[in-house]
């Protein structure tokens, strides 16, 4: 009799433990999912980095004697055309003022420039941009000349 009671209690305990385990299972799963997503984030970032690196044009190797201003070994391309598929706005006789300005041999912005602070002269140049602002009359005339759409879209408050 006692043995039967002990067996029944043991069975009930096992059943309860199993049921409790099922009851708490969503918590465990969500924790696993969270952990999984945390683990996968660096992988995804790494993969994204690899993909973007592949998609981006590979950095050009530095040619000895080539300079940012186009002097030296780098042959200046003719203005607006030439053997290059991509056109260049640079003229045949290059000068120090014409060139890539601000980027290194790989076409990326030079770190020194990126870290540099703007001067008062730069701020003046920004403010000077307002002088190129077009009046409503000028814009209307330009649109009419080009046979473009004179209607402007409705604006929402800023």
């Amino acid at each position: 009799m006692k043995r039967w009671i002990v067996r029944s209690v043991a069975c009930a305990s096992l059943f309860f433990l199993g049921y409790a385990g099922w009851a708490f299972s969503p918590l465990t799963q969500s924790q696993q999912q969270q952990q999984g997503s945390q683990q996968s984030q660096p992988d995804a970032k790494q993969k994204k980095g690899q993909t973007s690196g592949k998609d981006n044009p590979p950095p050009a190797g530095s040619t000895p004697g080539a300079s940012a201003n186009g002097s030296g070994a780098e042959k200046p391309a003719p203005l607006f055309g030439g053997s290059l598929n991509i056109k260049t706005s640079r003229q045949t006789k290059d000068t120090a003022t014409l060139g890539f300005n601000g980027v290194d041999d790989n076409g990326q912005v030079q770190k020194t420039f990126l870290a540099a602070t703007a001067t008062g002269d730069d701020t003046l140049k920004v403010q000077k941009l307002a002088s190129y602002a077009v009046s409503a009359a000028e814009l209307d005339e330009f649109i009419e000349q080009g046979r473009l759409n004179p209607a402007a879209a409705a604006k929402k408050p800023n």
């Binding site: 998609d55 003229q91 703007a118």
Partner: protein, 328 residues
Amino acid sequence: MQKPGYRILLALLLLTSAASTVRAQVGDVLRRAQNNAQKAKKAADIYTPWSAEQEQAIGEASAARLIHIFGTYENAEMVKYVNLVGNTVARQGSRTVPYRFAVLDSEVITALSLPGGYVFITRGALANLHNEAELAGTLAHEIAHVDRRHLEKEIRSKKTSQFAKEEAATRVPQGAELVNLAGDVVKNALTMQVSRDKESEADKVGMEFAAKAGYDPAGLRNFLETLAQASSTEQSRRQLSLWGSTHPPFGARVSKLNSLLASYPAGGQQLQERYSWYVNPVAFLKSGSAGATAGGSSELEGVVSQGVVVLTDGKLPEGTRVKVRIEH
């Protein structure tokens, strides 16, 4: 004999009901956690945008920093033309922003925008566009970034500065704070891609702006196709590297733009001739350089010989339109 059986059955029922209660409680906790996560995501998306004053201050400081890097290409007629095309497209935007367009003095092929309506295109990009519709499409993409506050959202989500972290800050940043913020904005614009969904949105919205303005909506697609077909020379790679590091690959964008184009009716202005009139090789010449006259103008010198203007230094491609001013 029967009594212990009943007890066990009763115990099992009690245990089952207890477990059900525990499960329901755990479920509630999980649902609350999910709701809180959704609320947090919404809070990140819906925020108080920078005021017009804040946006202008940050935009101006960032533009100064960008000009410090590349310099501006000073050609009043060409810059005015870029402003006219840009403003024609910007009229289709949803926000009232005082847009200012400028040409950056670099061979690099790129275009970028900053908060406050500062839109830049490089000399190198202008040299590779074929018509006004392509220019309009390129500027429209940048205008869409400003219109949808994409860069502002990126800066705020990265929380790189105290000001970027602050929600609904009313002060206009000044001094060192403004300098640092401008640094973050420019660094973001020049070295990082905005998220793919924001780039796709800018392509879609930009095409809409250009089409509504009356331009051929295929302008940006056509320009991207030109760039995608660029030869892989050292010079081309150098010209396109910055674009590549801040925008998704050409192919993916072209195919998306092609699918969007299907929903637009054919037509729209391309205005190749007007583009060539304002953006031409003569205009790219600088003072002090061979072929250009002194005094800051972008003109070539020539003499009339047997009724034909002969350039004293320089040769222009066939079909280039020029303006002639008679010197006495």
